[in-house]
């Protein structure tokens, strides 16, 4: 089937009908172009939203306490619930479904940060080293809080980039001491969230903060990561389980949201991704629908072509062309048109999305990236390959009926002199 002759035959007919071939090919190219643009946009939207989740681990969960609102086992409502260091050991060692844990202790009142003559009021996050991984903290300089800092109650601090700018200007902050309130802390790192223009937060070891600022064994809230699961039901079950365990420790009703508040990111994440899966399926359906319209066009044109070439096919059959060779001729032409046109559409679609991506990247690089809900709107290699496979298959499909028709041409009818 694959020899020079069949290609020559195909090209000679294509050359004879340039406009028609172009229009036919265009419908297929358009179909695949739209499919690529739709898929790319779907991906872009999904990546954009995923980027929104990228500020934290997707399986992150926050726990905080308040006053009970439901009486429980003979205890009145309105009791204050307080986390403590024992809860930390429980969560980090005994609790089920919990991966990493970081405690947080709030410093009371406004804390002034100062270095030399420069000062300002900034927020302080007291944490365990695990927070860096859980909240995806990005450092531009130095290191994050480590276990040694925790164990030795070191007075070290990681400052946000805005704090660095305010206190140090152009000076290198590393190893310098800043005063937090009246206590000097050594700067060991600078953090900066590239997607945010607010970097006014500093991180210090939880243990140091608790001891220095009279915390006793008080913990204000926990940041934890949970076991990774696939469905939102499972994620909710984890949420419930964690609540159950802590409720038991502090004697409150597990359903009492006022006694202990919690937010489970994983549930939201899974729900959102489910929506995108649905969108993706929808996009495929629309894209394939467009493609089918193109393919029906090709099939239609090939039918006309076969009709027009009835006499030629009749001659060929009289000269000894087998039905197989006639089918091959029509089928190959159909596949050629769809594949070439489809490939062009594919390249144009992917090209457009890549260009769009380039533009977006420029925008993100130039700041203001947190406003964009659309990131990396490109189509991956596997999708492109499957689209190509679909094309070749649909080319064959488009050619099949016309080819059968061609094979059924009766030479004596085709050659009848009119």
């Amino acid at each position: 089937m694959f020899n020079v002759d069949i290609w020559q035959e195909i090209f000679s007919t294509i050359k004879k009908n340039k406009l028609r071939t172009f229009l036919t090919g265009f419908s297929v190219a358009w179909g695949i172009f739209m499919l690529m643009v739709l898929l790319g946009s779907g991906n872009g939207l999904q990546n954009g939203v995923r980027e929104e989740f990228a500020d934290n681990a997707v399986n992150i969960m926050w726990l905080w306490t308040g006053e009970t609102s439901i009486p429980y086992q003979g205890l009145k409502e309105g009791r204050e619930i307080k986390f403590n260091n024992d809860d930390y050991s429980f969560l980090s060692t005994k609790a089920q479904d919990i991966d990493q844990v970081s405690s947080r202790f709030y410093l009371r009142g406004d804390i002034t940060y100062s270095y030399g003559k420069e000062y300002g009021s900034f927020s302080t996050s007291t944490c365990h080293p695990t927070l860096m991984d859980m909240e995806k903290i990005k450092l531009t300089k130095g290191r994050f809080i480590n276990d040694m800092d925790m164990n030795e109650f070191r007075k070290v601090i990681v400052i946000g980039d805005d704090i660095r700018k305010a206190l140090f200007k152009e000076e290198d902050p590393m190893g310098k001491y800043i005063k937090v309130g009246s206590v000097p802390f050594k700067v060991v790192g600078v953090s900066k969230d590239p997607r945010s223009d607010n970097n006014r937060q500093a991180y210090m070891p939880f243990s140091t903060a608790q001891r220095l600022f009279n915390g006793g064994d008080r913990v204000h809230n926990f940041t934890v990561t949970t076991k990774m699961v696939k469905t939102s039901q499972e994620a909710e079950a984890i949420d419930k389980e964690v609540r159950q365990q802590l409720a038991q420790r502090h004697s409150f009703d597990p359903t009492d949201k006022r006694a202990m508040g919690s937010f489970n990111m994983l549930t939201e994440y899974i729900r959102t991704m489910k929506i995108f899966q649905a969108i993706k399926m929808f996009v495929w359906i629309i894209g394939l629908g467009t493609l089918i319209a193109g393919i029906v066009g090709v099939s239609n044109i090939m039918l006309i072509l076969v009709k027009e070439r009835t006499r030629e096919i009749g001659i060929r059959k009289a000269l000894g062309a087998t039905p197989g060779s006639v089918i091959g001729l029509v089928l190959m032409e159909s596949i050629l048109i769809t594949t070439v046109a489809g490939y062009l559409g594919l390249v144009m679609g992917v090209g457009l999305m890549e260009a769009l991506n380039f533009g977006l990247e420029q925008m993100v690089a130039g700041g203001g990236g947190d406003q964009i809900f659309f990131r990396n709107p490109t189509v991956d290699f596997v999708t492109a390959v499957s689209a190509t496979a679909i094309l070749i298959f649909s080319g064959a499909l488009a050619g099949y009926i016309p080819a059968r028709q061609a094979a059924g041409v009766k030479p004596m009818e085709a050659l009848r002199d009119e």
Partner: protein, 243 residues
Amino acid sequence: MIVLNNVHKSYITGNNSLHVLKGLDLEIGAGEFVSIMGPSGSGKSTLLNILGILDDYDEGTYSLDGKTIKGLNETQAAITRNEMIGFVFQSFNLISFKNAKENVALPLYYQKVSRKKRNLIAMEYLERFGLKEWADHLPGELSGGQKQRVAIARALISKPKVILADEPTGALDTATSFEVMEILKEVNDQGITVIIVTHEHDIAAMTRKIIRLKDGMIEETIINGELKMYREKVRTDKTFNYV
């Protein structure tokens, strides 16, 4: 070479059945030069289609070179046609976007002969018919006589046993017609059976046997000596109006 025994053929269109061939018996030996004549509707086209394995028949037997031709599938029919039969048509039936050489070479393409080889053979045949210079011309650039010579070259290239010519001179002027008949005669001289369908008496008169059909039966077969008389009759009797 060709033996037909009690061959029947009907065409069914809707509720009407048209009985075209009504028990035809025919025998054509190897190397014969035969013309088939008859008024329209006498079944000569149908007969030619059956002889050319372009159509099947309902009853009777047809054997070609000792092989019974009945109920072949399309692929078998195509192969048999390719090997045994060369077709020449009234309207030449050359493929318009292929040049003379490619047209002549086409039957060899279906025999899976390599491109180089079949183009070489096609050139030989074109040379034989004085068309060497026209090898790269498209059919549209050739005269009627040249087209028919290309068509005959194409019919011969697969070395068939039988040439079936359907009104081969129908679209040609008298001089060119005689030229084409001369070529067919030469072909016949090489031992190939030539069967032509025609309604022109002077053309039929150039063959060695005339089979006249009427209403799906052979009405008359004129051979050899009789043919001489027939030729005489055509030449002398101006009021002769046979068909």
